[in-house]
Symmetry: C2
Subunit: 244 residues, 2 copies
């Protein structure tokens, strides 16, 4: 019984963006664990048990994966996008650190197309120069740290990708983010709201920072703020490779 | 004659990390354009012309792609990794901006697995919290800007991924990068050197910042510096989701 855990990224939604590595690993699995909408993307078959759970139980889910693998199961923990970007990979290692008895379990991480790169591709190339990725959820860190990072990133003239910009439980956070960005950046800075990229619900809107409103983002949106040189060419948004 | 340009990411090297979208698009192409080692990854076939060119001619390559597509060709411009991250997508839009007569050409960008995410997956989850990506090549920007970004990113406590850390023509740049990071970060900070991930030449080494030397990086290496909480668990490196 050689169990293992693979923490796999399913990409942003379209089947054509799931890597062959992830598809082949899912075909070998005995168990799939993850948040309900991600597990729903895995086709049921004989010999495969689907364990779908609600949001905010990442550590329980990770511990269950280690436990099943320790007993010989071949477990795929599914994330959307890339599992290493604000997703399940860190939770699995946190669970491993908390339970040293599972240190012998074979754990692999299988990369996927993360939301910001799918969104950037659809918009053009807004992340074509130095950039940063910030999770705006303040479930896991204090708001003061988010604010500090936003200001320093703006001063560094990074393009920025924002994950989890807005949730029903804390609608004010993204409004404060926009206020800070308007203090640090020029009003004409381009900002792209990319919702559900590569799915039938896909929607992209690019506006200036002065035109942006909190309602433009929801939980399925990734937001990309350009740097000071980001511009439009035709229907595309891109950041030049050069900087002064 | 409906030509198009697709700017496609081939991922870090392994076939199993090429998305089905990219494979399907390559199957429809009449022309493939790119840097010699990337074009070499595309299988020759009847009806497909391979245009391989040397490094540092990105704009020529991009203009050629637009020109061929304007004449009805189905052109795939290939990058390794993701085309929107320090690769060909921005060059194609720069070429488009310079030649408004090509504004009618249909251009799509097809995302791929970028080097930092493939490397992070292999190491564990070092980019599991807020992070930034910096191109250390000073061909396209002044060194002073790189230095400023390194210091601000360290003050923001971002994990950092470095592309193009070291070339034969400017070996001193990465040495200066390490000096700056040692001024801004604690000596025990973890740094991972990931070379040629997913290829037979793959090699990963994680050391502390005090142990890091410039020779650990070459042109096929992506370097990942953890944030202040990045740690080891077993043989894995990860950054917790939480921060104070």
């Amino acid at each position: 019984m050689n169990g293992w855990v693979a923490v796999a990224g399913l990409g942003p939604g379209a089947e054509a963006l799931v890597t062959p590595e992830v598809s082949a690993t899912l075909a070998e699995a005995t168990d799939v664990i993850g948040y309900i909408p991600y597990v729903a993307r895995v086709a049921p078959r004989d010999g495969l048990t689907l364990h779908a759970s609600d949001n905010r139980v990442e550590l329980d889910r990770a511990t269950q994966a280690l436990q099943l693998a320790a007993n010989g199961a071949r477990v795929v923990v599914v994330s959307s996008g890339d599992p290493g970007v604000f997703a399940m990979a860190s939770a699995v290692f946190e669970a491993l650190e908390a339970k040293p008895s599972y240190q012998h379990v074979d754990i692999r991480v299988l990369p996927g197309i993360t939301a910001m790169l799918a969104a950037a591709a659809r918009a053009g190339a807004p992340l074509g120069h130095d950039f940063c990725a910030i999770n705006l959820s303040d479930n896991l860190k204090p708001w003061a740290l988010i604010e500090r990072r936003l200001r320093l990133a703006a001063q560094a003239d990074f393009a920025m990708a924002f994950y989890n910009p807005r949730s029903a439980s804390r609608p004010e956070g993204f409004s404060r983010t926009l206020d800070i960005l308007r203090e640090e950046c020029e009003a004409s800075r381009l900002i792209t709201f990319a919702r559900a990229v590569s799915t039938p619900q896909e929607r992209l809107d690019t506006v200036t920072l002065s035109e942006a409103t909190p309602e433009m983002a929801d939980m399925r949106t990734v937001v990309i703020l350009g740097n000071s040189t980001t511009r439009r060419v035709g229907r595309h948004i891109y950041t030049p490779r050069h900087a002064e």
